[in-house]
Symmetry: C2
Subunit: 214 residues, 2 copies
Amino acid sequence: MPRLVVRSFTISLDGYSAGPRQSLDEPVGKGGIQLMDWAFATKFFNTMFGRSGGEEGIDDDFASHADDNVGATIMGRHMFGPDRGPWDLNWKGWWGENPPYHHPVFVLSHQERESFEMQGGTSFTFVTDGIESALQQAFAAADGKDVRIGGGADTVRQYLKAGLVDEMHLVQVPLLLGQGERVFEGLAGVEDRYECNEFTPSNRVSHLRIVKKS
Amino acid sequence: MPRLVVRSFTISLDGYSAGPRQSLDEPVGKGGIQLMDWAFATKFFNTMFGRSGGEEGIDDDFASHADDNVGATIMGRHMFGPDRGPWDLNWKGWWGENPPYHHPVFVLSHQERESFEMQGGTSFTFVTDGIESALQQAFAAADGKDVRIGGGADTVRQYLKAGLVDEMHLVQVPLLLGQGERVFEGLAGVEDRYECNEFTPSNRVSHLRIVKKS
C-alpha cells in the first residue's frame, strides 16, 4: 500500500521548524535557515548543488534516501512562496526553473490558481478543498508510489492530527530558535495513535522515526 | 561566582517535561514517568536506590554529576507535591523522610507555610514573594556553591525568561507524549541571550547544554 510519509522534517531543540516572519529574503523565517546546516553539510546536498565534497555517514544516508519511492509531494502555501492573499502569478516557487521534486507537487491554499509545469518533471497543482482532497489527488498522481509531505509545520500538523501520516522522519537540531512555527502544538491524543520507534543520533543531530502504533 | 544551573531536565521529543493531570498516583502526569527511564537505567540511580547493576556511560556520567557543587535547590510547588490551594501540612514532599537533596530546598508557592527540616540535611522553605527572592535566599543558603533549579517546566521557564539561568543541561528523550507541561513556550527573545553549545547523544537520549551567549 502506498503510504503518506514525512522525511527530514527538521526542528530546533525548542521545537520550531521555522523562525518567525517568513519573507523573500528569509524563506525559513528569522534564523530558520540554520536548521538546514546538517543537510547542507552532507555529500548528497553538495552533489545536488553541483559541488564536490560534503560529509558521508548517518546524515547523508537519511538525506539521500528522503525521496525513495516518493511519487508526489504535498506542501503548504508558505513552503511554496512568501506572499499571502491573492496570487502573484509570476511567482513559481523558491526553486527556479528546475525544482528538485521531479514529480507532481500539490500546494494547499485558500486561493485558486491554475496548475503549471516546470522543467524536470515537476508540476504544481493548487488545492483549495482541503487536506484529504490533496491527499487523494497526490496518491492518484503518485501512481502506486508513496506521497511525501514537504512541509511546513502547519501542514504536517494537520495531517498528523487527522491520523493520515504513516511514517515521519524527524530531525532534531541542537539549536535554540526561541520562536517560530511548530508542528507539535494542539496535538493532544496523538500519543495514542503514534509512537517513536527509532533514535539514531549523528554527530550533529538526532534522527527520530515516528510511526503508527500497531 | 556561584551560578544558577538546571541539570538533567528531561523533555519528550515534542517538548513536554511532564504529562497532563498530575496526581498522587502520577507525580509526573499521565505517561510522564517514562521520561525518567534513561535515568532509572543508570548505575547511579540503581546505586541510589540500593540496587546493584545499572548502565555506565554517557547517561550515568550526566546523572551522577548533576549535583556537583550544588548547595541549594529551587523548585515549583507542583514538584513538591500534588495538592493545590491551602497546604496539607501532613504532606512533606514525594521523597519520604530522607529526601535526596541533603541541602536547603526553596519551594515557590502562593501559599505561606512554615519551613521544616527532614533527615539527611534537607530542609524545605516556602517562598511566596517571587523567583528573585527565592534565588537570593537559595544563594545565601548555598554558601558559595551553585543553586540548582529542580523543576518543573513553569519554574525553569520563569528563570530562563528573566535571564537568571547560567547553564542548563537538557535531556531529550525519543518519546512522543502528545500533551503536558513544557518549558519552551512564550520564550521569544531567549535566543538572543542563550545558545546551545554542546550536543552529546547516548544510545538512549540526547544531552544538550544551553549557556548564556558570551
